[in-house]
Symmetry: C2
Subunit: 415 residues, 2 copies
């Protein structure tokens, strides 16, 4: 894409009420727009990053047999009454609205109820199980405070997967597969080293649930990290019993602020019982389906990456989620030689399906470089009179700052 075509502009100012570093950087670089407190729109660069995050998650969910659906946001009150979650005293972050022809409906903050209900049409016998279903859907949560930028929004994209198994054992097997898939997701997203499988409160059906917590000062949670064992304990459940269960000692734990980028949860028969989701076993006996739920917030992940991978000049995207693979910057000369070479290079790279943002604007080198640092594409290529004198282009890695002169397009692509 030519940058002269990209409609967004970088800017110095951010909305006065925006205190989160992730949102400040993303707004300044033109990735997102703040609509209201906790409500953000995604602009072309932001949508590109979001789509890459989503695709990595999708591939890993498919790899464990997940089938993708897209459930509705508008929620039937009756289903939520059946599980006791309609009342505002039970769920304190509902957005509710009214149908014109009568009746209250909710905006989904999660989807256990409608999906459990839907599966009654599709699960009859043990032969139909196991099943894993997931979606990327907008969730609405009426948060009292929303000061963490896109890390805690009132409207946000969520990947939520739900598993359906015949019994606790096969559920546990899938749960472990899902845990491994989550670890792969965060590794691929470039935040694996900072992300810990964290023991958290389990609810009625399992002693613990597992959160995926990424260490960052911008986090709203406190976790205790055991670095050697690559695990952590949420402050809420840190006690002697959990230390004993995990065979760790309090003195080996380090306190950190962290953000919950994912969580996985055993649900037992809670929803199946409430909504009547049963299957016939081999003996023809009706049994409740055993469920689990598995969430990742792609927007929250994107915000976390922005917090972790940025410097005083701007964003520093990992290659896997960089909005473009290459930021191609031309420093034009008066004779048009640089333009000719760069246009040609842009064509060739684009033809090879390399995603290139080509800064073809009539701007100073200073503006181009500072915009490029702010936007934070993982690799920069500069073409200038100076590089042409050496019959080369200059490449620069946004993260390491390493600069190289490269002679041919093949060398560029092979790197």
């Amino acid at each position: 894409m030519k940058q002269s075509h990209l409609f967004t502009k970088t800017r110095h100012e951010v909305p006065k009420d925006e205190v989160a570093k992730n949102a400040q950087l993303l707004i300044r670089a033109g990735y997102i727009n703040k609509e209201m407190s906790g409500v953000y729109s995604y602009l072309p660069l932001g949508l590109r990053v979001m789509n890459k995050v989503v695709n990595i998650i999708r591939e890993e969910m498919n790899s464990i047999g997940g089938q993708e659906v897209h459930l509705a946001a508008l929620q039937d009150r009756k289903l939520w009454e059946a599980t006791g979650r309609w009342d505002d005293s039970v769920v304190d972050n509902w957005f509710k609205t009214k149908l014109k022809n009568g009746g209250d409906i909710g905006l989904g903050f999660t989807h256990e109820e409608p999906l459990t209900n839907l599966m009654k049409d599709h699960i009859r016998s043990f032969r139909d199980l196991p099943i894993a279903v997931y979606q990327f859907q907008t969730k609405f949560r009426n948060e009292e405070r929303a000061k963490s930028g896109i890390m805690r929004a009132r409207e946000f994209l969520m990947k939520d997967l739900y598993s359906f198994n015949v019994d606790e054992k096969s559920h546990q097997d899938f749960y472990e597969e899902a845990k491994k898939a989550y670890i792969r997701v965060f590794d691929r997203l470039g935040i694996g080293a900072q992300t810990y499988v964290t023991f958290a409160a389990g609810g009625s059906f399992s002693k613990y649930s597992h959160e995926f917590q990424t260490i960052t000062d911008a986090g709203e949670d406190i976790i205790y990290v055991h670095k050697d064992k690559r695990l952590a304990v949420n402050r809420d459940v840190l006690n002697d019993e959990v230390l004993k269960d995990l065979r760790i000692s309090r003195s080996d734990l380090e306190e950190n602020k962290a953000v919950e980028v994912g969580n996985i949860f055993s649900l037992g028969a809670k929803f199946s019982d409430a909504l009547g989701l049963n299957y016939k076993d081999a003996e023809g006996k009706l049994r409740p389906v055993i469920m689990g739920s598995y969430g990742i917030g792609p927007g929250r992940v994107m915000g976390t990456i922005a917090e972790l991978w940025s410097d005083d000049k701007g964003l520093v995207w990992p290659e896997s989620v960089s909005p473009f693979a290459i930021h191609l910057i031309a420093l034009f000369d008066s004779e048009g030689k640089v333009k000719k070479v760069t246009d040609d290079l842009y064509e060739k790279l684009t033809k090879k399906s390399v995603e290139v943002l080509y800064d073809d604007r009539e701007e100073t080198a200073g503006t181009k470089f500072s915009d490029s640092d702010l936007i934070g594409i993982s690799k920069r290529i500069v073409v200038s009179e100076k590089t042409l004198r050496e019959n080369s282009v200059e490449t620069k890695d946004r993260r390491t700052g390493k600069v190289e002169m490269v002679k041919s397009i093949n060398d560029l692509l092979l790197e």
Copy 2:
């Protein structure tokens, strides 16, 4: 994908309150689930069709320079008050809700207001124009009645593009490009022959707007079609003046029921003036940006295709939006020969990136064929003892019913 893995089941019954043919077929075939009146979820097959519809529209919007974004659903009351569209007496299908910490917000039924406001950060000078921005976003409309299945839902996906130009002339140029892109979209979606550019009410800034109306008995609109000129007039504007403008005679027009699958609309400076979206012209003078809006509902299109392309056995997808390219059906023999050959064919086709739904279930031929007819994948391949005796497989076109015996996989792929 192996059909034994697909969690959805075909079924005979549909919800009692579902009267629309499109939704009845799509529910029976396992494409969608009805959550409430006018609210549907998309299951794996339905999401695949939807994604194909979306991708065709996306390609054509990109081809006219559209830049994709994703705006928020939650809407700031202030912006809608500025244009006079907040009040329920002006817009009668708002869904509204309340923030926990005070204040009413709306659920977007369209996005002119937030996008116009957002563009103020990015449009400064005539050099920044033209711009075309689009999104695929869920819209919420509090319809009094919702009896047309996914053709008129209370929550539905919408592609909405907005154009920003320096003046009326450049706006008109883009408007014509968009019109052509729309025609390409409906052609590619397989409903081009039934779809007419239809003159409709224009509003304050242009005499007419243009609707894209597809002729079907399931439609809620009445249009008057001039077949030779490939145009139509909406009943709402049919009068002597429009006949004169279009140089057509009333007697050449044929009355039809139709569904509005798209519309394009000149907005003039209505939103720019109300929200202060201006640019500096070459003389440094501040002028309002001239806008247009361009909508297509992918869900409505999918419903329209289901209405047009179906028979008494089920759905009949056009190839371009068929959930899979091939429905591969194995009629197993007791010795496992058919299974071996079909497994192998499935592997080979999948490796060549052909999208195949492989019916590997232990079901009767009758069940497999009737499910296949109901699901309506454009091409069927049958492997059975009989076809193997001829060292062949049988292909069948779902639309024409044409059957052929094919000897090799290369012949299959070349077709």
